[in-house]
Symmetry: C2
Subunit: 215 residues, 2 copies
């Protein structure tokens, strides 16, 4: 997926901004992995990147933003899967297929983040809380997409519940991938295990939502 950059003239200023941002992000990730998230200070990152502390907090308003990338992509992933579902495909079927694809591709957005990254998150209450918030945002986006797909009011209890149930399955599977990653399993083996478990999990929900959100 190339960067769209809508009318973003690649002037010298934009180029240097992107370089500076990447420079800070790279040093931050390296330090977080090496010595943990909480143990790394913004001052250290700024010193490593040879920029001012203020520049770091200017590009990344909160410290968590330095560690968790692709937040927006994660938050809209389920809603996008529903919006882009095939003709006659239910929301559940679309989300099942989307997860299977993500597992096959070992997509980081599905939870394939590497052992060191998973450990960094697990060891940091701040990052764990931030991840919970992202799961929450993802559910809300999904609820909006489901409301649009079914023509129901966004506050409708059935819409809200369906979004909660569907995102719960994805969240449980995400957490399972993280757990297996932390346990040291290689991605290939995790993908194999999770594929079978995902079938069980989605099958459990099938009787409840088999035709929900079908065109």
């Amino acid at each position: 997926m190339a960067i769209p950059t809508p009318a973003a003239t690649t002037g010298l200023r934009e180029i240097k901004k992107q370089e500076t941002r990447q420079l800070i992000s790279d040093h931050a990730t390296r330090l977080f992995i090496a010595q943990g998230f909480e143990q790394t200070t913004i001052a250290e990152i700024a010193a490593a990147a040879r920029v001012a502390k203020k520049t770091v907090t200017n590009y990344f308003p909160r410290k968590e933003d330095l560690a968790l990338d692709h937040q927006e992509q994660f938050a809209v992933s389920l809603a996008a899967a529903v919006t882009a579902r095939r003709q006659g495909e239910s929301a559940l079927a679309a989300l099942r297929r989307a997860f299977a694809d993500a597992v096959a591709a070992q997509d980081p957005v599905a939870g394939f983040s590497g052992q060191q990254f998973a450990r960094m998150i697990a060891d940091s209450p701040t990052l764990s809380a931030c991840l919970r918030g992202l799961h929450d945002q993802r559910e809300h986006h999904l609820a909006r997409a489901l409301a649009e797909a079914t023509g129901a009011h966004p506050d409708d209890i059935t819409v809200q519940t369906a979004a909660g149930l569907l995102s719960a399955v994805h969240r449980v599977l995400f957490h399972r991938i993280q757990t297996l990653t932390l346990a040291g399993h290689p991605n290939d083996q995790i993908a194999h295990t999770i594929a079978a478990e995902a079938a069980e999990a989605f099958n459990l929900l099938e009787p409840a939502l088999s035709s929900y959100g079908t065109d």
Copy 2:
């Protein structure tokens, strides 16, 4: 529910500790309601309660602990409902009944917290994140209870998924009560509305888990 106090001799010291704790908590709640959670500093609370700053953070390690009470009770509520379910009653039925009871009693643990309290939480990212963490803990406790009830391994994907689905319904309904509270509806009206919506939400899950966790 009286305080068990297992062999807790009600010495003068324990009494004064409880008084001090209550004094701090009362002043904190009052200030949070009056001027918001983030806008209130621990120093202000300490000054209002006429104690040292350190005494506040000694009784309440984190600032959130000053605002959110009964955290442990909330976290174990779903697990307790499953553990105490009747003979032959499914986990879903037990949780449906527990929620109906909580709504009838307008239990704060179910979300009946009053408009000012709901606003305090909604206006504070810190408290919202803390509440998400509590929902997460509640799901994990439920998963353990379900594993024990079904004899399955706690890491079993069916157990994890069932816990995720069941707690998702409770979480959606909790959030709905908060939303209605923020909108200014009186508790009686909310209880009436939610009772009907809860029936819809649990009915949605019924085909999936009607017999799960039955003795």
